[in-house]
Amino acid sequence: MKNNLIQYIYGIADNSLILGQRLGELCGHGPSIETDIALTNISLDLLGQTRSYFQYVAKLQGNGANEDTVAFLRLEREYKNVLLVEQPNTDFGYSIARQFLFDVFHLALLEELQNSKDEMLAAIAKKSIKEVLYHTRFSSDWIKRLGDGTEESHKRIQAAINDLWIFTDELFHQTDADKAMVAEGIGVDVTLLKANYYKKVSSILEEATLQTPSIEYFQKGGKQGIHSEHMGFILTELQYMQRTYPNMTW
């Protein structure tokens, strides 16, 4: 039970950690000061949420574990984030498309998780929803602005949506830990979120004068710890300080 709960939390928290890290890469590199600050603020929210989850995991693990050991000292296959969040910041359109495709899912997940029988998870979800509402509003706004903007912005945001689409199905795959936690009334049954997700995403894409991709082939693996080639580079940067100077503190 405890191990399933920990694995279940990784499945949620690692998404926030890795996306937070990806967005953090844009600090000082955003296309304008406002978007730079927005994306790094979203990163900060996600990393803050991650800290709450990891402090809880560390407490469950005991044995001297702390949020740092949980965040920095796992091996690649022990991270359970979806492939979507590890995709690179190819251009602003990709960063926004990745954010949008994740935010719509994230909000729906948290809205269910706030009813979890696990009080800590319910509390983190309730807190996070307020922040993720702002994230969703920001990314949806930009989808519309880019889609309904210039010929060039339309072309590029459509390309980003098309490329990232193959990672969306994985959001709704259930792991063994998921199933066990759903049975306990702790976890969210993500399969039930799928229909609404695609409906919501499509309606915003339509408003943005963009096409909803119709591809049927999807990528998966992240939830099982089998990541894309990008993950190693992310972890190298993420873990550098703790690996180089073990047990360092600020």
């Binding site: 406002e34 600050i37 927005a38 929210d45 509390a123 309730k126 996070s128 922040e131 702002y134």
Partner: protein, 166 residues
């Protein structure tokens, strides 16, 4: 608002009032609604605080500042971070809202008005410098996670707006 204060003993309350939010130095953490309870138990002050935003980097500093403030008055203090119930801008006291405005930060509107303002649909955020409602949204995210960035179209001053969190 008042329910917050009920959980805090008067003597402790006065000490907590001297601790300010490091990002907004004119506002005490009590006016901010960050302190949820403070009790003296077996000679140790136990304080519960709640973060405004999950990633708020000020929380660690606030915790240290609380301990230091109590130490100065001869108390040992223990600070716990709690997440539930989640903080809302409704917990900022009316004194706190006045302090925000004086400092140049527009205070949070109601949830519905906030949404209209942040989507740029309606001009509802008042410039804290000249009081004009002729203001425009520059960015939904501002200098910290809790604020959005606005500009007054009359006096042209840029300013922060404290986003509504419900």
């Amino acid at each position: 608002m008042t329910t917050t204060l009920l959980l805090i003993e008067k003597e402790l309350f006065e000490i907590l009032e001297t601790v300010s939010d490091p990002e907004i130095p004119v506002l005490s953490i009590v006016e901010m609604g960050v302190v949820r309870s403070a009790k003296l138990i077996n000679g140790i002050v136990e304080v519960e605080i709640t973060p405004t935003y999950s990633g708020c980097p000020a929380m660690d500093v606030i915790g240290d500042d609380i301990k230091a403030a109590f130490q100065q008055k001869g108390y040992e203090a223990k600070v716990d971070l709690i997440l539930s119930p989640a903080w809302t801008t409704d917990w900022i006291t009316s004194k706190g809202r006045i302090a925000l405005e004086k400092y140049g930060i527009a205070s949070p509107l109601s949830a519905d008005a906030d949404k209209e303002a942040l989507l740029g649909n309606k001009k509802l955020v008042k410039c804290p410098q000249c009081g004009s409602l002729n203001t425009k949204l520059v960015s939904q995210f501002g200098s910290t996670a809790c604020k959005a960035f606005f500009q007054c179209e009359d006096c042209l001053e840029p300013f922060d707006y404290f986003k509504c969190l419900k």
